[in-house]
């Protein structure tokens, strides 16, 4: 009887849509307002970064990596320089590693602020957006003072750092940590126990740990499902092995848990930054790096925990050219985005925006 009853409506969300966080295009098949199918169309921001990197010399690539996850440029820099250091077996001075950690954690805070603001905005809580951006602004100021740029920092060098921290910068970072510690409860007051927020996020886009691993989720999206995987803990890089911090995990694997995980990461980042500032050693900031970078022939994969998940670089060097032979990025946003069709099916249109926000993507990184 109901054989004609396939009243599916195809709704094209994006690439110009307020909640797709850039130029993501989601083609939804709707039954009423319920999503029965979802196709993701990407590539609107493709700039050929991987190919481009094969035609730049090793030092120039740092600058290009800024343009992938442009809201977490320092993390991208860090991942790249560490991969090359691993390839060349370079020793990085301890002070440089500490400062890198501070920068990476500040970047995590900035990225999470942006995520929180836009995620809350997608669900209609417009004030959190401006509150979160207010704190992000402070991070950007700190970065500006450190390297002169506010978005694309180009803040690391192979073998160390281009600049030492300016005098008094450490104190400012400490002050920022104090401020943020009072502001995070402010966000939580507006959201965490808000009935509407909980109704909108609990039970939405549930994915259990095994499935999350199978689908390749990483970062807070994976930890929200209760898998305690964090590259900082499991395969420590920079100076993470020297600090104490915990890896927050969720239980239900829904949007609310992913939200809680990220909120807790604010606190953990503050903890790491404080420890790093306390133990900041003296010394050089740049190791012994040859004038002409020419890594030996070989290949290597190295991953770091970017704010969005596991950011990995796979670089092949043929040992002859001054450029990588092959350059490949494992971007967390791209891999996490694969979970979206699975997460949204069965939910409503309103949940689609919640879920896009909840897996925290940046299109610059998805498309590269």
């Amino acid at each position: 009887m109901s054989q004609f009853d396939t009243s599916e409506l195809t709704l094209n969300m994006g690439p110009q849509h307020p909640s797709t966080h850039g130029v993501l295009r989601v083609v939804l098949r709707l039954d009423g307002e319920r999503v029965v199918g979802c196709d993701i169309v990407i590539g609107y921001l493709h700039r050929g970064i991987e190919k481009l990197c094969e035609h730049r010399d090793w030092a120039q690539i740092v600058l290009i990596t800024d343009r992938m996850d442009y809201v977490a440029a320092a993390s991208n820099n860090l991942g790249y320089v560490e991969t090359v250091e691993k390839l060349m077996s370079l020793e990085v001075p301890r002070r440089a590693r500490y400062i890198r950690t501070i920068l990476a954690e500040l970047q995590r805070i900035a990225s999470h602020c942006l995520w929180l603001g836009t995620h809350a905005m997608d669900l209609g809580a417009m004030t959190v957006f401006l509150y979160a951006f207010r704190e992000r602004e402070l991070v950007l100021d700190l970065f500006e003072e450190y390297c002169g740029a506010r978005l694309t920092y180009n803040s690391m060098r192979i073998g160390g750092l281009p600049l030492d921290i300016p005098p008094g910068w450490g104190a400012k970072v400490r002050r920022f940590c104090d401020i943020l510690e009072t502001k995070v409860p402010e966000y939580e007051e507006l959201l965490t126990h808000n009935r509407i927020w909980r109704d909108r996020t609990t039970g939405i886009g549930v994915i259990d740990g095994d499935d999350a691993v199978a689908i390749g989720l990483t970062g807070p999206a994976l930890r929200g499902s209760g898998v305690p995987r964090d590259v900082r803990k499991d395969e420590p890089y920079a100076a993470y092995s020297e600090f104490e911090f915990s890896v927050p995990i969720g239980a239900a694997g829904d949007t609310y848990d992913r939200y809680l995980v990220r909120i807790e990461e604010f606190h953990q980042s503050i903890r790491i930054i404080r420890q790093a500032l306390d133990g900041l050693p003296e010394g050089p900031i740049l190791g012994k790096v040859p004038r002409l970078l020419k890594p030996p022939a070989g290949e290597t994969y190295h991953a770091i925990e970017s704010p969005k998940g596991e950011l990995g670089y796979f670089i092949v060097s043929d040992g002859k050219a001054h450029t990588p032979y092959r350059f490949r990025v494992r971007p967390p946003s791209f891999c996490n985005l694969q979970a979206l069709p699975r997460l949204v099916t069965g939910h409503l249109v309103s949940d689609v925006v919640a879920l896009i926000g909840s897996i925290d993507i940046v299109l610059g990184e998805v498309d590269r």
Binding site: L11, L123, G124, L190, L191, I196, L348, V349, V352
Partner: protein, 339 residues
Amino acid sequence: MTHTYLVPLLKILVLLNAVLVSVTFMTLLERKVIAWVQVRLGPMRVGPYGSLQPIADAIKLLLKEDITPVRADRFVFTLAPIVSMVPALIAFAVIPFDREATFFGYQVPLVIADVNVGLLYLVSITSIGVYGIILAGYASNSKFPLLSGLRASAQLISYEIAITMMLVSVVVMAGTLSMTGLVDAQYNARVWYVFVQPLAFVILFIGGLAETNRAPFDLPEAEQELTGGYHTEYSGMRFALFFLAEYANMIVVSGVAATLFFGGWLRPFPNVAALWILDYIPGWMWFLLKTFVFLYVFIWIRATLPRYRYDQLMRLGWKVLIPLAIANLVVTAVLKVLL
């Protein structure tokens, strides 16, 4: 002749202008209040502290190109903003601002039409307002507006039931449908109805939020989901009309709440003679003050709360508000008969 035709006409003229002006300045108020909540300044460029911003906005919107999509139903597309604006304006006809005021020696009641079915009139007029949204959604011939139109009509019809149920319990208390009569009843009962019918007031307010498509029930125009909803395809003055209608509806709901539950033009404690000092403030000032408080709360809520989801909204309406309203009505009626 003067009294029968001229005075009402003048009243209509004055009220329409006052409403339109206050509606435009509502946009400024909203932007300012939300800005303050969000620790920013809001509009500051046009006029002192941005006070002339609405005028600049109006000029901008008037001068903008009025685009009609090619595949749209042109007639309905033009009609829809008008249909949403007109009910919002004519609803003001029965809202009493004061019992009467003296102008040039004339005693003029400050209500355009004190009809004996005033409350019913309000309910029916607001029920017409839904057409604007549905028609806009249909006429745009685009999917986001269409979804929005469907959402809006379901939402408005569901919340109308709760509101009407609740209004009935107030009417049971007062024994009249006339708006002026409702205020008089509160005067005679020596109490604002909000203290007798707190539940009814809460339901009216929540329902009012939903009826005016305000946050957290602004699903039909959810920018983040439906890219603006039913007015996605609109531009220029037609777009502005939808917004003006929304703000005018907010003022209507606030005015109704003030009249029904907060004694309209009555000063606080109207029967306590010791507070005679309050009488120096004219009644219409009290009314406007009360209305303004509600408008402020509307904006405050918008700045604070996330948005409901469609199914949650329907659940709230049908499974919470309507049963509560019916229970409230039954209890009110029983008590009224017993006491």
